[in-house]
Each structure stands twice: as C-alpha cells, then as structure tokens.
Symmetry: C2
Subunit: 114 residues, 2 copies
C-alpha cells in the first residue's frame, strides 16, 4: 500500500557512453529538450556551466522537479539525473533515453532507478 | 575492481520530514550551504524557483556536479539530491544531513544511494 504521507518522487539516472561525443552546450540542450518532450515534462528555468578544460553541466528546473545532465568528455560519458514528482516508470524513462541516443550514434546505456 | 573507463559518480538522496517546516528560500539556502560546507563542496552557480501555491526548488551547480533541493510543504517534506564526481560515502552524506537536520527540529530522515 502506498504511503500517502510523503510526496510521489520518481528518480531515474542514466550513464551513457557515447562514441561520437561532441561536448557542446547545443548538443547537450538538444538531448535535454528531447527528454523533456518525450516524457511530457515542463521547463521552468535553466542553468548551465562549461568547465575548464572540459565538461558541461546543464540543469532544468521542471514544474515536475529537475533534470540535470553532466558530461565527462574524457570518458565520452553523459550522466542524466531526473527527479519528477509525477509517477514515471523505469520502462518509460529507459525507452525515452534509448530512442534519443540509440538512433544517433553507438551508445552504451546503463540505468538506475531510486 | 573499479571500472576506470567511466567517471567516479557518487549519488545520494535524502527525504526529510520536518515537523517545524518553514518553506522559505532563506531557510532552504541555509540547509544547502550547510551541506556544501560540511561536505567540502564548491558552488559554481545557483538557481531557485518558488512554485504556486507552495514549494521551493533550489539547485546549485557544484564544481563536483550538483545539489538539488525540492520542498513539498503540504507533506512537510524536503528532498535532497546530491551528485558528486568525487567519492562520497553514504556514511559521510548521512552524517552531514543528520547533523544539519537533527539538531534543529524533530525530523525523520531516509537515505538512498545510487
């Protein structure tokens, strides 16, 4: 039985190893916007930072909580952290990420849900 | 044996039920700054949003990744999501959160690590 005394919180992460990785903010934003669109989320505010010598962070505050993307170009890695206060299954999240990344380049995906 | 082909990513969350909850940005920022200080993290940028009718989101981009705090005043709940690209044990995270929240008010804490 579900505990009604705490909010609904769905929490999913993905670590993507991306063979043809372009670490620029435009590409990261394109990924983030595709995730938001596929999962029918709503962007409230966004913030980004480019690290020296490399690495990008992009975070959206969503009306459903947040989406944070960090990149580690030296590992060709993209880490996605999505917290939503609406119910989101692991299958929905995984399907969205696979559709966005698998179609473009060879990518290895791993998923965890909290 | 550790996989050296992916970045170090420590990921911890806490859900706190806070009996004497004041949902204002100053209080949330005080919690966030205390977490950052105790865990020796570094703030790069911050962003916040106050939702209608209630609820606050505060996110810090850290030089070590990000800290996101969401509140649900209707449940007296605070959700903390911390991703760091430095090694951070569950014990260190839990100790910091307990020290910050237990001393002030009656709070119920639950923790998960990815």
């Amino acid at each position: 039985m579900e505990n009604q005394s705490t909010p609904i919180i769905s929490h999913h992460t993905a670590l993507i190893t991306h063979d043809n990785f372009q670490d620029n903010l435009d590409q990261i934003e394109a990924f983030a916007e595709a995730i938001v669109k596929k999962l029918r989320l709503n962007i409230v505010q966004k913030i980004s930072h480019s690290f020296e010598p490399s690495g990008t962070t992009l975070i959206y505050i969503l009306s459903e909580s947040h989406l944070a993307i960090h990149t580690w170009p030296e590992y060709k890695s993209i880490h996605i952290d999505l917290v939503t206060c609406k119910r989101l299954s692991s299958e929905e999240f995984k399907k969205a990420i696979e559709e966005i990344f698998k179609g473009r380049v060879h990518a290895t995906l791993s998923f965890k849900a909290l």
